[in-house]
């Protein structure tokens, strides 16, 4: 059950007066995992939104296994939580499950709530959740349809240490099972632990990319430093 190959070619994204991506080429092999690193404002989140099908590239192509982009195969976690504050945690997951046509959304919701340690607050309105609770639920939402490819934008934000550790373990397992994974983070050590390849974005351009199967933290740090140097 490998994730499909993901391919970006010459992806550009322009907002009114700012160009966030200036021609990005990325290939993620089936079952691969990729860390996107870079300084603030480099274009990481924009790139993830393009991959998720949330934002149109201004130019360039994005393909799944050579074919069309398919939103059903992708799970996305962004800077916003995508949750409804008036619904309970459980209802939010059930709703997301229905959106994706999950078979029995109730059961899936309960399972995810337990995994994320939200069992006790399942029936509370999400509006009153603390940042970390909302982040956990948002992660569960991204996984509700067991997507083949997970796109996570700074997934560790706001999580306490046990939760962060559980997330690391879960992502490692998923990756081992052949799920695709793309994540952004500012913690290089986490990136090195979770991903087998990495690109370093600066100013909308891929400045460095590492694709050795055993990427070390030191290697990644060096590449990051080189990328910042090279950028004008």
């Amino acid at each position: 059950m490998n994730s499909p190959q993901l391919k970006l070619r010459g992806v550009r994204k322009r907002y009114a007066s700012v160009t966030a991506l200036r021609g990005v080429d990325i290939t993620l092999a089936p079952g691969g995992s990729l860390a996107i690193l870079g300084p603030n404002g480099a274009g990481k989140s924009t790139l993830l939104r393009v991959m998720a099908g949330l934002a149109h590239p201004t130019a360039g192509r994005i393909e799944f296994a050579g074919g069309k982009h398919d939103r059903g195969q992708v799970g996305y976690l962004g800077h916003a939580t995508l949750l409804y504050p008036e619904l309970t945690a459980r209802e939010n997951l059930i709703f997301a499950g229905r959106l994706y046509g999950v078979n029995s959304p109730q059961a899936r919701a309960d399972q995810l709530l337990a995994e994320e340690g939200l069992g006790e607050v399942a029936e509370r309105r999400v509006g009153g959740f603390s940042r970390g609770m909302a982040q956990r639920l948002s992660i569960a939402r991204a996984r509700v349809h067991s997507p083949k490819l997970l796109l996570l934008d700074e997934p560790f934000t706001g999580l306490d240490e046990p939760a962060a550790q559980r997330l690391t373990e879960r992502l490692t397992t998923l990756s081992a099972e052949g799920h695709g994974l793309v994540l952004t983070t500012h913690e290089i050590s986490r990136a090195a632990r979770l991903a087998r390849s990495a690109v370093i974005l600066v100013d909308g351009t891929v400045q460095e990319s590492i694709d050795s199967d055993a990427m070390s933290e030191a290697e990644l740090r060096a590449a990051y430093a080189r990328a910042l140097e090279a950028a004008p």
């Binding site: 007066s17 201004t58 130019a59 393909e63 069309k68 004008p232």
Partner: protein, 252 residues
């Protein structure tokens, strides 16, 4: 299909596009023809017989319906260009839609000026809530809202898509505007649409010339505006290539 879903058109899409380049070559000759037409038009309006019931004011006839047709034309082009933009991602046609909506609104505004002047002359009031008049006002509102949407949303593809959809939605009003006379026939103050031979003797030629001249003016303005729009798009494109980027560490 949608603009650039998985295949966005050619990244450094030429601005102006081939279509735009071809069309803009027509502007100059059209200008010359327009100049000649205007002279003939002016002469024929002056020499046309003066209406024996309404007097001189009736000469507004020679601009008023042509203005209406120009407005219709502008909005129809806006709608269809928008559809093609949505379906094929043709940004040049989006620029055409902007140009066309603006020229259409200008024509519509002029109609909303000449109509009431005529009304003041023959009906004795500037405005009446007659069906035709009201729906014309609406038409004006819809495309004004279209321009506002573009203004508020700023120059970006999302706004362009919204505007395109709105332009298509607005098309409903055009047949309604034209046939509203027939629907509300009896209770309407505004005369019916023109039919074969409903114009008086000697009024046919100036009316025909009026239609041609104003159609010429319409297309001239349209091409001009379109060129300006693609010029702006090009400047935008180049401007954003200049480095913008994110924040930098302070250089100490």
């Amino acid at each position: 299909m949608k603009p650039g879903n998985e295949t966005a058109p050619n990244p450094e899409a030429d601005i102006p596009s081939p279509l735009e380049a071809r069309m803009s070559r027509w502007r100059r000759p059209l200008g010359i023809v327009l100049g000649l037409l205007t002279i003939g038009y002016a002469w024929s309006v002056v020499s046309a017989p003066i209406d024996h019931t309404q007097g001189v004011i009736q000469k507004i006839l020679y601009v008023h319906p042509p203005l209406a047709y120009g407005a219709y034309l502008g909005f129809v082009i806006t709608g269809f260009a928008g559809m093609v933009f949505l379906g094929r991602g043709r940004e040049d046609l989006d620029r055409l839609a902007i140009a066309s909506a603006e020229v259409g609104v200008i024509f519509c505004t002029l109609m909303l000026v000449t109509g009431p002047i005529w009304a003041r002359g023959t009906w004795g009031v500037w405005w009446s809530w007659d069906a035709r008049l009201t729906v014309t006002l609406l038409l004006w509102f819809v495309y004004l809202a279209y321009l506002l949407l573009r203004g508020f949303g700023g120059r970006n593809p999302r706004t362009a898509r919204f505007a395109a959809i709105y332009g298509v939605l607005g098309l409903v009003l055009i047949p309604l505007n034209y046939y509203v006379i027939e629907i509300f026939g009896s209770r309407s103050m505004h005369p019916e649409n023109l039919k074969q031979g409903s114009l008086g003797d000697g009024m046919g030629l100036p009316f025909l010339l009026g239609n041609l001249a104003l159609a010429g003016a319409f297309f001239y303005l349209l091409l001009l505006r379109w060129e300006v729009e693609s010029q702006r798009a090009r400047e935008d494109d180049q401007g954003s290539e200049a480095r913008v980027g994110g924040p930098r560490a302070p250089k100490d």
